[in-house]
Symmetry: C2
Subunit: 343 residues, 2 copies
DNA sequence: TGGTAAGATTAAACCGGTTTAAATCAAGCC
DNA sequence: GGCTTGATTTAAACCGGTTTAATCTTACCA
């Protein structure tokens, strides 16, 4: 309702009897103003309650003072936790955080196409989206720094920061743990390997799974592999099918905790005791894993987001920084859903 | 790497042999251009691959083309789900979504102070943050539309949109359900009533709880009330204490599902069977409630966010819209954690 | 044929900052 | 006193759009 027009830099200038340029310099700690006038200007700023118009600054500086985050399905707990890491650090910086949610391949294409340019953002964080070759090529030409979190592409090594996890090794080690417990009939429940979003984590973990089996000379049985859209209910379906086999597995490795929960539900339905009749391992270590006592491979979700921002801010501060390729560690958290076979 | 400078509206104008103003009008569907020149201009636009600079538009239009969302602890599943509703609708609009996370009272004050002004955003969504009287006064003077989601303030009726839930009635009905099952020794586990964020949902649900007990002539016993910082572990502590009472409750109403999970854990620890020895009810109906078979009061989390955006967009389209005060319904979802007393 | 109105287009102002180039001023030196 | 130098400061250009005021056409009517 206050019809008083915005105070502009020219108002301050007039009041302080200097030019707008001087006011600008006084505010931005330029050495090109005398202490005397700076004090006078700041007094007037205070008095008129002047705050610079951000949009005008953006245009003038040629910067957006914003960081864009491209993120798919951020209600997934794992994604949300990464995003939380991003926000926790970025909210203390001068940058605005603009969210671009990706829920369809079309949105995804649009995001990768439009966002990584200086008109839109000074920097971009992309979470859990593995670029296709074509997209990587585009990203390599981006005129702003990009950080891939939980994703990578060989063509971007040395071009953009990448904070990632070795899902193949993660899957291998996790499967190895089950093998170590004496399991040989191990099922895998995951996302579709071919999916329009090019999600790769489930696929990579499955590769690791295969690798571990091969090294232990355990045959890979196709009936022990089920894929389905990501989600608890879908995973339950997959597990139901697998547990109905005449020669059912004694352990199931789920590509995520959410899916592991579905497996646990299917086991309960089938009247199987966990871990006595069936061992179950998940991936991520989100809160529900702790609640249910689920054995899982923990990855540093929050930290991955935080680290991504750290790298981006450093890059914005000093554009000559060398892009790094960081692999975050994982850790097996043993709880109550796994046991030696035959125990 | 492409050192080709950005294409500006003047480049297009030169190429199309018209003035920049005409290009602007041609692009923005102004009736003040002939079909002939419009076609010619759009051809050049195509040919030069011109896209208007958003920042320049913002400055010129005096709009930010952005919507700010103020949100506390968005990794809480309930908050995240509301945010998801916001994003789902807003990502199809022309507006950018700028997130302001609130994790400290200081951030909160800063947000309420700075964000609701036209330099920062064209509109503001505030999620689950009940304004204090002073803050409400400020918000009433905001020069952009604001929508309160899961929060309200009497001073803002008719001033800003409010999409809210009647937590008092929700708490009353939920407690009434337990009373209907024959329970008279009913505990309440919630957040601190006095908290620096002015979170009110737990408090209101507790009021409803008291109301229901009074109406049923059941005395309110202070030892049946425990408050603690929001969280599963903290709720477990609270419940642990309450269940250690010599005359322990036969039912516990938790202010949220997350806290209900903590109560379930405490019950398990204490060797109590649910629901035989103890009934447990939560609030929200987040995914974990379904997993654990938790009886709970469902509220429309996703829809609240979606509706908030709907109202905001409508207000941005037509500033004369009358601000509404909407109360979303809740619904009791009976699962496996509640039973008649003595069953 | 002159006058006028409607329609299309342009030139210029504007949004509110930052920054470059030019101007001013005081001090220092021979 | 004149000239140089360095420190401040100002005026003006610039960022890249939109919009108002002014100009130019063309059509139409008396």
């Amino acid at each position: 309702m206050s019809s008083t027009k915005r105070v502009t830099i020219r108002d301050v200038a007039r009041e302080a009897r200097v030019s707008p340029g001087t006011v600008s310099r006084a505010i931005n700690d330029s050495p090109l103003v005398s202490e005397d006038t700076r004090r006078r200007v700041l007094e007037v700023v205070e008095q008129l309650d002047y705050t610079p118009n951000v949009v005008a600054r953006r245009l003038s500086l040629g910067k957006t003072l914003a960081v864009a985050v491209i993120v798919p399905f951020f209600t997934r707990p794992s994604v949300s936790e990464r995003l939380n890491g991003v926000v926790s650090l970025l909210s203390h910086s001068q940058y605005d955080l603009v969210i671009h949610n990706v829920e369809t391949p079309k949105q995804r294409a649009k995001c990768f196409q439009e966002i990584p340019h200086s008109e839109h953002a000074d920097g971009v964080l992309s979470i859990s989206l593995t670029p296709t070759d074509a997209e990587a090529e585009r990203l390599a030409e981006a005129d702003v720094p990009v950080v891939l979190i939980d994703a990578e592409h060989p063509a971007l090594r040395g071009v953009h920061h990448q904070v990632t996890v070795d899902d193949v090794t993660g899957g291998e080690l996790t499967t190895g743990y089950l093998i170590g417990l004496g399991h040989t009939k191990i099922g895998f429940v995951g996302d579709p390997i071919d999916n329009p979003f090019n999600f790769t984590s489930s696929r990579d973990r499955y590769w690791g799974y295969q690798k571990a089996l091969r090294e232990a000379d355990i045959p890979i049985r196709p009936e022990y592999y089920e894929e389905n859209q990501h989600g608890r209910r879908q995973a339950r379906q997959s597990a139901r099918k697998m547990l109905a086999l005449s020669d059912r597995p004694t352990a199931i490795f789920a590509a995520s905790d959410t899916q592991a929960v579905g497996v646990l539900e299917a086991a309960r339905e089938a009247g199987l005791r966990v871990p006595d009749d069936l061992s179950v391992v998940g991936y991520d270590d989100i809160e529900i894993a702790d609640v249910l006592g689920l054995t899982t491979r923990r990855q540093l979700l929050f930290e991955s987001g935080r680290r991504g921002v750290e790298l981006l801010l450093e890059m914005l501060r000093n554009p000559d920084t060398d892009p790094v390729y960081e692999v975050l560690p994982t850790e097996l958290i043993v709880r109550d859903t796994t046991a030696s076979v035959g125990d």
